[in-house]
Structures are given as structure tokens and as C-alpha cells.
């Protein structure tokens, strides 16, 4: 063997061998920890560390369709309400028609999104074999059914009547459809807040008392935004509704930020917290400022309102994505479900 390959003993390690020998001779045993195996120290399960940090709760099993469904449903539900009220108060015919079409488009898209999220889409109709008032999903599906039928009937009967002239059956269908879409549109615009609020996910159920209002106002903001993008940028009624919704969203954002609770952690930190805040800013302060500016802007008013509308729509969509995302983050927080979080 080449002499250069022979490893010379490290003095300290050699010294340690003498120490071990001495200890063994004097005491009859050696107290030493030995070598730490790789991976040590090993994870422990305890009252403080939980079960190896494995989350107790399961994350939502929903696909990308669900937050989009929340957005579309909110906008469509609010549009049906706006359309019906605009009609009853004798507002601009074009506004009524456009609001109805948004509602009708939403009433086609919503079930499509809901069904494609199912693990077994072909079994969607199983939802209609029972009605369970204690299940927000069941109540929601029946609301969706009533809303969709009403909104589609109102939009199609209305357009047929405008094209082919006055016919009693069309008139009846249109009015009944409109009344139904108003009646069902009210809960449809915000029930998705109940849907996620009444669950085992801490970040959601901690907000069960405000998510429905929040989602409803967000839906109204996106409905107003869509109508403004369709050209109704001079409607004072829409401006007032947009202002009201934006003011509510400002309050909601402040309310969320000012509360301190460990369950709210995913709403303020991490990716989900970032999207919540981005959605909040786009839904509240920005459209509010733009709308106030448009009130005093004179000839630029219409263009400013367009940007307020775009901001509100983007904010509304982001808000739903953020809340679903926060649900995932909350389910992953193993401390929260075991009541191990001490600080907010």
C-alpha cells in the first residue's frame, strides 16, 4: 500500500479512545451517546408537536372550477336582482336586457362548472333525489336550479317577445321567470359563503358570519362592473351600487385585518394571504377611489368608470380564488385543528 494513503490518527480521537478505556476500567460501564444516526433527532409525537405535524384535516378536494363557479354564480345572482329591480322601477330597457343576459349566461355556466367539478359528473342528477336544508350544498343546488330556470326563461322569453311581438304566453313566462330569478338570485348571489363557512376548515368557519355578505357584495360589484363594461357607464344607479359595494369591501378588508385569531393566519400570510389582500385592494379602495374620481372628473368620467369596473371584476374573481386557497392553507395548518396555535 502506498504510504501516503495511510490515514494518520487524529490526536483528539486517539485521546478519546484512552478516555473510554479508562472509564470502562474504573466504572464498569461507559456513559456515551454514541453516534447520532442520520436523520436524528427523530420526530416525536407529543402534545406540543402534534402527530409529527401531519395535518388532521383533509384539504378541499375541489378543482379550479369551484372558485370560478363562486365568481360566476355571484355575478349572475346579483345581475338577476339588478335586472328585475331595474325592470320594476322602469329603468332603461337596454340595462334590463343586458342584466338578464348576464344572469342567463351565468345560469348556463354555473351548472356546467359545478358538474365538471364532480368526481362523477354523470351522477349530477343524484343531487336532485333529496333536499336537505342542513346541507348548504343541497340548498345551493336547488337554488341554482330555480335560479337557472327563471333567469333563462326571462332572458329567452324577453328576447322572443321583443323580436316577434307581444304574445301572452311569452309575457307570462318572462314575468314568472324574472320573479323566480329575483327570488332565487338573492340567495344564489351569496350562498357560496354559507357553503364554505359551514365546514370544518378553521379559516372558513371562523368567518361563517361574514363570508355570505362578503361574497354577495363581491358578486354585486362584479355584476355592476360587467354592466358598465357592456356600455352602461352613465347609469347613476349602477354608480351608486358600485360605490356601495366598494365601500363594503373596504370595510370588509379593514375588518379582516383588524381581527387577531390564529385561524385567520392563512388570510394574512403566505400565498393565500397575498391573494386575499390583492383581491381586497382591487375590490375595495381602488374602485372606490376611481368611482369618487369619476364623480368629479367631468368628461373623463366614463373612462374612469371603465377602470373601476375592471378593477372590481378582477378583485371579485381574485377574492374567490383567495378564499378557496386559504381553505387549503388552513387545512394544512396542523396546529390549528389541534388547538395548538397560541398567537395570531
Amino acid at each position: 500500500m502506498n504510504r501516503s494513503q495511510i490515514q494518520l490518527p487524529v490526536v483528539e480521537k486517539e485521546q478519546r479512545l484512552y478516555e473510554i478505556r479508562r472509564e470502562a476500567e474504573q466504572r464498569g460501564r461507559v456513559d456515551a451517546r454514541g453516534i447520532q444516526p442520520s436523520g436524528a433527532p427523530f420526530p416525536r409525537a407529543s402534545a406540543e408537536t402534534g402527530y409529527y405535524g401531519i395535518p388532521l384535516l383533509k384539504q378541499p378536494a375541489w378543482t379550479w372550477e369551484v372558485p370560478l363557479y363562486f365568481f360566476v354564480g355571484g355575478a349572475a345572482g346579483a345581475s338577476a336582482v339588478v335586472g328585475a329591480i331595474a325592470n320594476y322601477t322602469g329603468a332603461d330597457r337596454r340595462l334590463v336586457r343586458d342584466a338578464r343576459w348576464i344572469a342567463a349566461a351565468g345560469s348556463v355556466l354555473s351548472p356546467a362548472l359545478l358538474i365538471s367539478d364532480l368526481g362523477r359528473p354523470s351522477r349530477f342528477l343524484n343531487m336532485l333525489r333529496v333536499f336537505k336544508p342542513q346541507s348548504p350544498m343541497s340548498v345551493g343546488v336547488w337554488t341554482l336550479l330555480g335560479f337557472s330556470s327563471g333567469a333563462m326563461a326571462a332572458a329567452f322569453a324577453g328576447s322572443l317577445r321583443e323580436r316577434y311581438g307581444e304574445m301572452l304566453p311569452l309575457r307570462v313566462l318572462e314575468n314568472a321567470g324574472e320573479a323566480a330569478s329575483l327570488l332565487f338570485g338573492l340567495p344564489f348571489s351569496n350562498y357560496t359563503g354559507v357553503l364554505i363557512g359551514a365546514t370544518a376548515i378553521p379559516a372558513w368557519n371562523e368567518n361563517a358570519g361574514e363570508l355570505p355578505i362578503h361574497f354577495g357584495m363581491s358578486g354585486l360589484a362584479s355584476c355592476v362592473g360587467l354592466l358598465e363594461l357592456m356600455g352602461h357607464r352613465r347609469s347613476r344607479a349602477l354608480q351608486m351600487l358600485g360605490l356601495g359595494a366598494a365601500m363594503f369591501e373596504v370595510w370588509e378588508g379593514w375588518h379582516l385585518e383588524s381581527r387577531h385569531h390564529a385561524a385567520l393566519h392563512p388570510l394574512k400570510h403566505g400565498v393565500s394571504g397575498g391573494i386575499i389582500r390583492a383581491g381586497g385592494v382591487l375590490s375595495g379602495p381602488i374602485p372606490l377611489a376611481l368611482r369618487i374620481a369619476s364623480l368629479v372628473a367631468g368628461r373623463h368620467s366614463v373612462r374612469i368608470r371603465k377602470w373601476a369596473a375592471i378593477s372590481a371584476i378582477a378583485g371579485s374573481l381574485l377574492t374567490r380564488i383567495a378564499w378557496v386557497h386559504a381553505g387549503h392553507a388552513s387545512a394544512k395548518d396542523w396546529r390549528e385543528s389541534l388547538d395548538l396555535n397560541t398567537e395570531a
Partner: protein, 262 residues
């Protein structure tokens, strides 16, 4: 029909995982691979769509006394399973009626009805129900409904070699569990206690557990809540939201009306 239950006694469990194997074989649950977790000998992690019994390996800091001494880690094993709640979040949430209460008191997902909406997954305070992404439907412990109907003991209880998993009538097992905890305490195992959340909104379960020490080391929630308790608050908020929407829209369009007609 008798109201049945599981009593899982972690002081008798030897961590053999016979229950996991028996459950998978009897119920023909798909293979889900094997990853080394590094969490003691637990390479399963949690109950899920493909795991209806799961043996937890609760490896703790050295604690002198029964079942551990100064040099060895204290070790206890506990076979986890669906709790079959008295007020079951999954059952209440299911919009198809696929999840039902059986005549034995268990909670059963009918696989021929479930359409995979996933709402039960977020409604279970114990994180038990799970959607199988390949199959599309939700799955969990059936309480061996098929075997119980045929007067047979569930597969896990039948194979348990130490009778750590006991199966029987709920109230009998509750009494047995209390006596067992008292006996363990008398013998010096002072941290032995019964997990049976009857005082919470879940209203008790059909799977109760004798464990040692803090429930949180076993990934059991100290205060499980059935999500239906949030319904009142949420629907009140929904009603206020609807009133705001209706009132606001009416006010806005009524206020806008006279100006245009002028």
C-alpha cells in the same frame, strides 16, 4: 338492531398493522404505494380514501414508568378509524343522500349514489372522508356494513391479535372502556384516558379510544365541532346580504328614476 361501536385500546396495541391489512383485503381497497415517512414506523400517515384503518405510532420523549424507561422512547400505538359520529358532519353535508346512518348506528357512504362533490371532505372535523382522485368518489370506513349485516365482526376487529380493537354494543363498550381506564389508573398508568367526545357538538362517536397522555399527540382534535353549528350564523349573514342587495338595488334605481323622467 344493536347500536355497535369500536373500542380501540392503545395500551394493548402492538403496532402489527393486521387491522390495516385486513381492512384493505376485505374491502378490496386499492394499493397506494409505500413511502418511508421517517415518522416512527408509521408509513401510512393518516386515514384516507385508500386507508380506512391506520395504526399511529406515537413515539414520545423518554418518560420513566410503565411502557418506557429512561433510555427508551415511550411508544404507543393506536389504530385510527372513522369515528362514526353521532352528529356526523359528512352525513349532514352530503347533498345526494349518499351518506346514510345504518341500522347499526354507523355512517355509511353508498358508493352507488356518491357523485364525488367533495363537500363531505371539508365537513369532517376528523379529516377522515377523502375523495379518490382516480375513482372520483369519496371513501371512508364502512364499519364493515356488509359484514355486520351478516352478523360478522368487522374485519379489523376480527384480525386484531391482542383484542386492542374491540367491537360490540356501544353502551357496553363505553362501560368496559371506563372500567379499563380505571384499572389502568389503579395499576399506575395515570395518563390513561378515554377519548369519547360526547360533550362536543359531535355528540359522541361510535369509535372510542383508550389512549395515554394528551389526545393531540394522537392527532385527535380536543374539541371536534360538527360544521352544522355554523349554519345559523352563516344563513343569517346570507339573509342580511340578500336584504342589503335587494334594498340597495331598489334604493339605487328608485333614486335614479325621477332624474331621468324629467
Amino acid at each position: 338492531m344493536p347500536i355497535t361501536a369500536f373500542l380501540t385500546d392503545s395500551t394493548l396495541c402492538i403496532g402489527c398493522k393486521a387491522c390495516e391489512v385486513a381492512c384493505k383485503e376485505w374491502n378490496e381497497i386499492g394499493d397506494d404505494g409505500l413511502d418511508w415517512s421517517g415518522h416512527s414506523y408509521d408509513n401510512t400517515g393518516a386515514v384516507g380514501h385508500s386507508t380506512w384503518r391506520h395504526v399511529k405510532f406515537v413515539e414520545n420523549a423518554p418518560e420513566p414508568g410503565l411502557g418506557g424507561n429512561a433510555e427508551l422512547n415511550s411508544w404507543s400505538f393506536s389504530s385510527d378509524v372513522c369515528k362514526h359520529c353521532e352528529n356526523a358532519g359528512c352525513l349532514e353535508a352530503c347533498p345526494t343522500g349518499a351518506i346514510v346512518r345504518t341500522e347499526f348506528g354507523g355512517v355509511f357512504v353508498q358508493p352507488d349514489i356518491c357523485n364525488g362533490c367533495g363537500y363531505c371532505v371539508v365537513s369532517c372535523p376528523f379529516g377522515v372522508v377523502d375523495k379518490n382522485p382516480d375513482d372520483g368518489r369519496a371513501f371512508k370506513c364502512t364499519f364493515c356494513y356488509d359484514r355486520q349485516k351478516a352478523d360478522l365482526v368487522p374485519a379489523c376487529a376480527k384480525t386484531c391479535p391482542t383484542e386492542s380493537i374491540k367491537f360490540g354494543e356501544l353502551e357496553t363498550l363505553r362501560a368496559e372502556a371506563k372500567a379499563r381506564v380505571e384499572e389502568l389508573n389503579r395499576r399506575g398508568m395515570h395518563d390513561a384516558n378515554l377519548y369519547d367526545p360526547t360533550e362536543t357538538s359531535v355528540g359522541g362517536t361510535h369509535a372510542i379510544f383508550i389512549i395515554r397522555g394528551d389526545v393531540r399527540a394522537y392527532n385527535l382534535p380536543p374539541k371536534p365541532e360538527v360544521p352544522t353549528v355554523y349554519l345559523k350564523k352563516a344563513w343569517t349573514s346570507s339573509a342580511i346580504g340578500a336584504a342589503l342587495l335587494l334594498g340597495g338595488t331598489l334604493a339605487a334605481f328608485l333614486a335614479d328614476r325621477p332624474r331621468r323622467r324629467r
